[in-house]
């Protein structure tokens, strides 16, 4: 009996024989354990190559999926290229708005700059008027009166009305003097004015000019409070003696 050689076995395994040759080979293997065993070995080896190749495909897919995940994860934390432009634009807009607001608040600040600020030179105090209608005639330490701060440019400034029994204010509305410890950069929207009675010495310390005659007197003064409750400016209501000393 002639055994099948490797070439014939592989050709039979791969279906590359013609029908007659294949039938002959199959018939032989049915009777020959040695050739059948050899055939089965080659068949198993071929199957392993097929499996290995399929596993390579699965591994490659898994690797690509993993790479994709890593890339996506990186993308989550990566700053987009256009992001820097956006940040720059936001910063630019923010700075512009800040500068504009600052300039605006400086222009509109109702409190006169302290004349002593600049090398002792007497600077002209910005002219402001404060509507004191509501505060007029109110007793000290009792009232927190809303003040509408207006630029003097507006012709509608309101003179202080005289109230019977109240101290006579100066004929000219006294101007507020910025308190030395106040922050001029803070906004003064919706400020309130509180009338208080203070010793002349305290007013002097605050930068308010007090006549020598009233050096030991208690004087009435209006204090401007910002909406944060902090005092910004002060003015003397009257040089007259408002109380006992």
């Amino acid at each position: 009996m002639k055994h099948l050689n490797d070439n014939e076995l592989v050709l039979a395994l791969d279906g590359e024989m013609d029908e007659a040759e294949l039938k002959q080979a199959v018939d032989h293997m049915a009777e020959c354990d040695e050739c059948r065993e050899r055939w089965e070995k080659l068949q198993g080896l071929s199957a392993r190559v097929v499996e290995y190749q399929a596993s390579l495909y699965e591994k490659a897919l898994a690797m690509d999926a993993r790479r994709l995940t890593l890339v996506q994860d990186r993308k989550v934390f990566a700053f987009p290229k256009w992001g820097w432009g956006l940040v720059a634009a936001i910063v630019l807009v923010g700075v512009s708005v800040g500068v504009w607001n600052s300039a605006r608040s400086t222009d509109a600040h109702p409190i006169a700059q302290n004349p002593r600020d600049k090398d002792g030179a007497q600077t002209k105090t910005p002219e402001v008027a404060i509507d004191t209608h509501a505060s007029e005639g109110l007793k000290p330490a009792q009232n927190a009166v809303s003040a509408n701060v207006k630029a003097v440019k507006s012709p509608k400034t309101h003179p202080v009305k005289k109230t019977p029994g109240a101290d006579k204010p100066d004929t000219k509305l006294a101007q507020f003097t910025e308190l030395p410890f106040s922050d001029a950069s803070l906004p003064l929207d919706q400020a309130t004015v509180v009338r208080v009675t203070l010793p002349a010495a305290a007013l002097r310390q605050a930068g308010v000019a007090v006549n020598e005659d009233n050096a030991n007197a208690m004087l009435k003064a209006d204090v401007v409070l910002g909406m944060d409750g902090l005092p910004r400016g002060i003015r003397l209501v009257s040089q007259g003696n408002s109380g006992t000393n």
Binding site: D6, V49, Y57, K59
Partner: protein, 191 residues
């Protein structure tokens, strides 16, 4: 695969698929249908073969897509279409490898082994045995001459000798010889 109206093919399955509608104007509906059927039949085998040559899954998918695009551009299917498709894909893979100095396909296993692969295995012993057998087969395949290795990879995808001969541009008897020698070498190495 998604198909458009009339004479258009849209090859799905890769990142290039979107927006890559193949205009097959001039091709008969029979040809279009044939290409679609071929796509379903050959896409995965083509990718498997390309990966065995060293391409990544995405690159293999793209090369397979490109092969189908070229088939559509012919407006008629070649006589030995499977062989033709594998030959085009084979050449695309070689071009890709030349361009990028591609690593050998066998490195994929090492890379994969270091990755967090959590595919469930029945037991650690089986996992170990499987990995050992794969490693030995991988080493044995790597030792084969390129021609024999390509023959075995194409054969593993079910190609007939005639088709393998078409891909590798050699005679059928040469393919038979390479397959036989390749199997014999593997058998000897794995014994």
């Amino acid at each position: 695969m998604a198909a458009g109206d009339g004479q258009c093919l849209a090859l799905a399955g890769s990142e290039r698929a979107e927006g890559h509608r193949v205009n097959a104007e001039g091709a008969t509906p029979e040809v279009v249908r044939e290409v679609r059927e071929l796509f379903v039949e050959l896409r995965v085998p083509l990718c498997r073969y390309l990966i065995s040559l060293g391409l990544s899954a995405n690159e293999a998918e793209d090369a397979a897509q490109e092969s189908f695009v070229r088939l559509c551009e012919r407006h008629q299917t070649p006589e030995n279409v499977r062989g033709w498709m594998f030959r085009v894909a084979h050449n695309l893979a070689r071009d890709e490898q030349r361009r990028h100095k591609r690593r050998p396909a066998e490195q994929l296993d090492d890379e994969y082994a270091t990755a967090e692969h959590k595919e469930p295995r029945p037991t650690p012993e089986e996992h170990l045995l499987e990995r050992e057998q794969d490693a030995r087969l991988k080493a044995a395949l790597a030792r084969l001459p390129e021609s024999q290795r390509h023959c075995l990879h194409l054969r593993a995808e079910g190609l007939k000798y005639r088709e393998i001969a078409d891909v590798l541009q050699v005679g059928i008897s040469t393919v038979a010889e390479w397959v036989q020698k390749g199997l014999k070498s593997l058998e000897r190495d794995l014994a």
